[in-house]
Amino acid sequence: MGTLDELVLAIQDGDSAQASALARTALDEGAEVAALVERLSAGMREIGDRFASGEIFLPELMLAARAMQGAMGVLQPRLLESGAATVKRGVIVIGTVKGDVHEIGKDIAMTMLRAAGFEVHDLGRDVGALDFVRRAEEVRADVIGASALMTTTMPAQKELVDILVTKGLRDKYHVILGGAPVTPEWVEEAGADSWGEDAGKAVTVLEQAMSDRIASAGS
């Protein structure tokens, strides 16, 4: 088994120290950094698929994501030096809305989005609508993701969209809503763009949204 395969396995096993060490070894052996990152991302997508199918559970997913971050800490400087096009798919600001303290769904989505190559800024829980917008402006986000677990905190998702409209920023961001009580009907009523039915589907939806955005910018 070559170093690259061992590295993918170390990430999938959630062994952060081993993943970082093998990333260094791979670079020392002359591996091409962009190809390396692409291969690791594919390995993480496989982990995400196994989580979505119930084959593995959240601890394995999170430890793998942590190991991936460790490896990327080694690879990122070399990637920047090389001038290779990054694999970043889009920038997302994500959080649980005001009044809601439930984070696990948002955290799973965040883990899978990072694994899929998105740059994710986590605002945590109990986040005010205006704070989402301010942070999105600050980091030049493409997407705002707002999660709510309670029916009585869902109105804060609409408040976020209303603020974007009021500030004339609505078209600047793709707004995705998630959380157990959220339905496609609510997404439409709130004026958002898409529904993150679960973490895996959120990744698919946002990959498509980013492709559409790039295509639309190019036309």
Partner: protein, 459 residues
């Protein structure tokens, strides 16, 4: 009671060992859970959705105690761990009451802990666990309150008050919780059960909302109960502790609300069973609860009627019943909607598995607990009747395992794509607060199916 004083808990919540979120998860929670599952040799057996292994149940208990004492409870506001010593836990277990008195007047109930395969019937709380439209809220509440086997009711949730959306932590919530409490109270009067034990109000998400609902005249009384959640997983915050402090001073019963997530931080069925048992220890010590409402659920299906879920639901109740006097209502979360054969089977399987294992019942949340108006009292009625029956006949776990296995065989392949069913308004004559004839026929057929499987209904 009380063992630990409230201010001792509050001090630890503010001054316990400092611990940031990642440290709590990666350095404490995950490795300790892995360690205890391995050390106590806990292994899921798909052939036994209702296991009958006393030693396994005791090992789950031991694993939960070791996990709880080592990890503690994380206050996410202060980044402090609330730690309970082994002596304090043992003191709390020793002092846990032989009975709790809830409700008032003619509806007073003495709620006592049950044992595995106990012939005493379960304490039954009827609850739709979902939102209803404001204009049918009173009738829906009456439909639940009038159920003969209801020892208590947790009413529906309101999303609108006076036609306006309720938003947590705002004045709309203050108005909404008052409307909720008043309508539920009126429902008990109209049905002729004014003292019925109410667990309310679910509309109040915030601490101030809960405080606003406390009123012995028109609102939640000191003879009623409240639910206070533990955050995912083994976490709390100051707002939740505010609710605890208020309830202790107001004098109502505290129900600690816990739902360990299968496939989440605890991993599979084994870790989830240990975690959900440990959550009850959080309720006993940190929240100083009177009872626990336990709703472990599957991370993808958000239900607990699948094979692996019933195994862990049963095992948690056995671990608690064999080793403590902690009261635990086993809260059913199902996949199918009302008016379907599948929902009746799911609710019955969950009730039978819970009751022969020593649990009480809190039922039922159909259709993944997320669709407005999609719950009725009939699925809860059948579940509670089945629960009473298997208790009265002292059904052994092995027989329950066979029956639950047959019920599972009829629905488990539909879990991922369960039928949606019909809303309350199509299943009931709303203004007359009674089930439609076709719906009663469906319920009766489901009951006869259970009878043929060996459930000896008293009536």
């Amino acid at each position: 009671m009380p063992h630990l004083k409230m201010w001792e808990i509050m001090e630890r919540a503010a001054e316990g060992p400092y611990c940031e979120d990642d440290e709590f998860l990666y350095d404490l929670f995950l490795p300790k859970m892995k360690e205890v599952v391995r050390k106590y040799e806990i292994k899921f057996d798909p052939a036994s959705p209702v296991p009958a292994d006393d030693d396994l149940a005791d090992r789950v208990w031991q694993a939960a105690v070791e996990f709880f004492l080592a990890v503690g409870v994380h206050n996410v506001d202060t980044h402090r761990r609330i730690l309970i010593s082994e002596t304090e836990l043992n003191e709390a277990l020793y002092l846990a009451p032989e009975q709790h008195m809830v409700g008032a007047g003619q509806e007073t109930r003495f709620w006592r802990p049950r044992r595995v395969e106990d012939e005493r019937p379960p304490f039954c709380i009827f609850s739709p666990d979902i939102t209803y439209d404001e204009d049918i809220f009173l009738q829906a509440s009456m439909a639940y309150v009038q159920e003969p086997l209801a020892d208590g009711v947790c009413g529906p949730i309101l999303e609108e008050s006076l036609g306006r959306n309720i938003t947590s932590g705002t004045p709309s919530e203050m108005v909404g919780v008052m409307e909720h409490a008043m309508l539920l109270r009126n429902a008990t009067k109209l049905v002729g059960r004014p003292g019925l034990f109410l667990v309310a109000v679910g509309t109040a998400q915030s601490d101030v909302g809960q405080v606003a609902a406390s009123n012995n005249e028109w609102g939640v009384r000191s003879s009623d109960g409240r639910l206070i959640g533990v955050l995912t997983e083994m976490k709390t915050d100051n707002e939740l502790l505010n609710k605890v402090a208020h309830c202790k001073q107001f004098g109502c019963a505290i129900g600690c609300l816990t739902g360990a997530i299968y496939g989440g931080y605890a991993g599979g069925a084994e870790g989830t069973a240990v975690l959900e048992t440990a959550h009850h220890l959080v309720g006993l010590t940190v929240y100083q609860h009177n009872f626990n409402n336990s709703f472990p659920f599957h991370i993808q299906h958000t239900s607990n009627s699948g094979r692996e879920m019933l195994w862990l639901v049963s095992l948690v109740q056995q671990a608690l019943s064999r080793n403590s006097r902690i009261l635990s209502t086993s809260n059913g979360f199902f996949n199918a909607g009302p008016g379907t054969e599948m929902l009746f089977r799911e609710a019955s399987a969950h009730a039978i598995a819970s009751v022969v294992s020593g649990g009480d019942l809190w039922t039922a949340a159909p259709r993944h607990n997320k669709h407005r108006n999609y719950a009725t009292p009939l699925e809860a009625r059948l579940a509670c009747e089945a629960g009473h029956a298997v208790a009265r006949q002292r059904m052994p776990r092995a027989q329950a395992n066979e029956i639950v296995g047959k019920l599972l065989a009829a629905y488990e392949d539909q879990i991922a794509d369960a039928p949606a069913g019909k809303p309350f308004q199509e299943c009931y004559e709303v203004m007359k607060v009674r089930p439609q004839a076709w719906y009663l026929d469906q319920y009766q057929a489901a009951k006869e199916e259970l009878h043929a499987l060996g459930v000896a209904f008293p009536y």
